[in-house]
Amino acid sequence: MSTNKITYRDALAISMERALANNANVIILGQGVTDFKGLFGTTIGLHEKYPNRVIEVPLAEDSIAGICIGASLNGMYPINTHIRADFGLLVFNQLINLAAKYRYMFGGLFEVPMMMRMIIGRSWGQGAQHSQSLQSLLAHIPGLRVVMPSSPAAILASYEYAIEKYRGPVVMLEHRLLYELEFQDDVFISDTPLDGSRLIREGSDITVVATSVMVLEAKRAAEYLSRFGIMIEIIDLHSISHPDKEMILNSVRKTGKLVVADTSWSAYGVAAEVSRIINEIDPSMLAAPVINLGMQPAPCPTSKSLEDLYYPDVHDLVNAAATLHFNSFVHDIPLPEKQSMTDFYKHFKGPF
């Protein structure tokens, strides 16, 4: 699928609308899905059109997740929303102990097709409890598909596939910072868009494996570095639970140098998993140490001055790539200013 000039939010809204229109079994359950803000504009008007199938819910995440499993067992395709991924921690019992295991545990007697949409918060003082990225926790668990779409095309392809073709539980981790952005030349073609990664840009010098909003930062870094003749290859990990290992291996075989840029912490995170993938096959493809960029090893602070230091961005990516390229922390590439990503993409002041 290819999209032009639509925002990430548009793609989500289109996906939700199409799902309801095309499939009478789709239901959407979540806090705020029926109100005038419609979960950051992704469900506006849908309750009016499908009053029985777009359902406002009590503040009771655990049971709502279980209700979705029950509805799925009885023929529905539930889409359960969480305005912050952090609140998703309340559904870990249902998601991990039940949904992920349901098919296997009963030897294939049941299936529980359903989707959890979890939105990752960032900036404007979201703080420690509105900013977490839980992809590695969920991707550790067999039975779950965990996807971090980084563009409208990724959303359109993978949401439709999940809802129409796939028969298990899927967790979609959306990034709030991307919602307002328009994308150009955004193409995503895949027969199985819940699996695999996306080659975003080819380059011969350094591989950057990135997730979600970090894919955009990687693009900015790559453009910047190309001016200095350093060619970055960018892989959008996309399917966190089922990445394209061959794509990663082939790229690192070519470049020998790797930066991983993730939205969460590095320890036991995406950075760790990418190193595992390489080391199980052939660590000698790495010509240099891997540089991993993620959140600082602390809860997220609220103050903007700390938050800007907390998250890695284009500045850190350029520095990492230059360090690898020149095999030295001291290099001649001038670093782009450490400018808040929020300021760059859009002056984000809510709604939250």
């Binding site: 049971s63 997740a65 029950g70 294939g108 298990g168």
Partner: protein
């Protein structure tokens, strides 16, 4: 047989299945934690006699009785307990995760209270599909009512007027812990707070009484397509998990079980001698089926993950 005799027969059949499980246990053929319903069979048979095959029950790790009462087959049950390829779930489930979709038994969970919300969700689906004939039974123990998920589920079911029967099998124990150590609420009042009709039965040993009260409760859910609550007091004769008893340990009031047994028609000699031989034959065949079934292999290890 009249209704009462049929119920007693069904209850006896369940008890004899579990007694066979106990018998087999020392052989290590069944390598699975077992939570027996001995003493509680009347609940399962009395309630299920009011259910249609299309009604769904959502059960727990203590699930043998409901599995059988709702129609689940014995050969596949024994094969499952023995971890065999022809078990209900090819040996992947074991005793704690029984299910029988064709008879309306949905997957049992070993996490306390975790399937109550599933019943509510299935009922929501039914309402959205404009079905008006089905009901959904959430079966749970007294301990499960301490979990927030139970409360949240009642709120949602009452709010959306969903055809759910909340069925509490109240044996007064959670493992070895008494209700007074765990609960401060009056259940009838709690349920009333949600404006959910409350049915209560103390004589959970009596299949016919269970049948009668659950006929009302099930009838209410079916006709109003709204939730009802049924609490049945019952008695766990055996230890929480495993094939033994736990009477001599002294944590249970002495005589409690004996007094209950004295009123329990399934312990009745005449009933037993009347049906014994037939049921034994049936169980023998089921055990043979299980023993004849192969064990699953590496080929099965990674199937059905997704």
């Amino acid at each position: 047989m009249d209704q009462s005799q049929r119920l007693e027969y069904e209850a006896l059949r369940i008890r004899m299945v579990e007694e066979r499980i106990i018998e087999l246990y020392p052989s290590d053929l069944i390598q699975s934690p077992i939570h027996l319903s001995i003493g509680q069979e009347a609940v399962a048979v009395g309630v299920c006699a009011n259910l249609n095959p299309t009604d769904l029950v959502f059960i727990t790790y203590r699930g043998h009785a409901f599995y059988i009462a709702k129609g689940g087959k014995l050969p596949e049950l024994f094969a499952e307990l023995m971890g065999r390829r022809d078990g209900i779930s090819q040996g992947k489930a074991g005793s704690m995760h029984l299910a029988s979709p064709i008879y309306g038994v949905i997957g049992a969970s070993a996490v306390v209270a975790s399937t109550i919300s599933h019943a509510v969700g299935a009922a929501l689906a039914s309402k959205i599909k404009c079905e008006t004939d089905k009901i959904f039974v959430a079966n749970f123990g007294d301990g499960a009512m301490e979990q927030g998920a139970f409360y949240e589920s009642m709120n949602f079911a009452a709010l959306h007027k969903l055809p759910v029967l909340f069925l509490c099998e109240d044996n007064g124990l959670a493992v070895h812990s008494k209700k007074s150590e765990r609960q401060s609420f009056d259940l009838a009042t709690l349920v009333q707070a949600f404006n959910i009709p409350f049915y209560d039965l103390n004589e959970g040993f009596d299949p016919m009484k269970v049948f009668t009260v659950s006929k009302s409760a099930v009838g209410t859910v079916r006709s109003t397509q709204s939730p009802a609550f049924l609490r049945i007091k019952t008695m766990r004769y055996m230890e929480h998990v495993g094939p033994g008893e736990d009477l001599d340990i002294g944590f249970r009031p002495s005589g409690e079980i004996d007094r209950w047994k004295a009123k329990d028609p399934i312990s009745n000699k005449t009933l037993i001698s009347k049906h014994r031989d037939q049921i034994i034959l049936e169980i023998d065949a089921a055990v043979k089926f299980a023993l004849d079934s192969p064990l699953p292999t590496i080929e099965d290890l990674l199937t059905d993950v997704y």
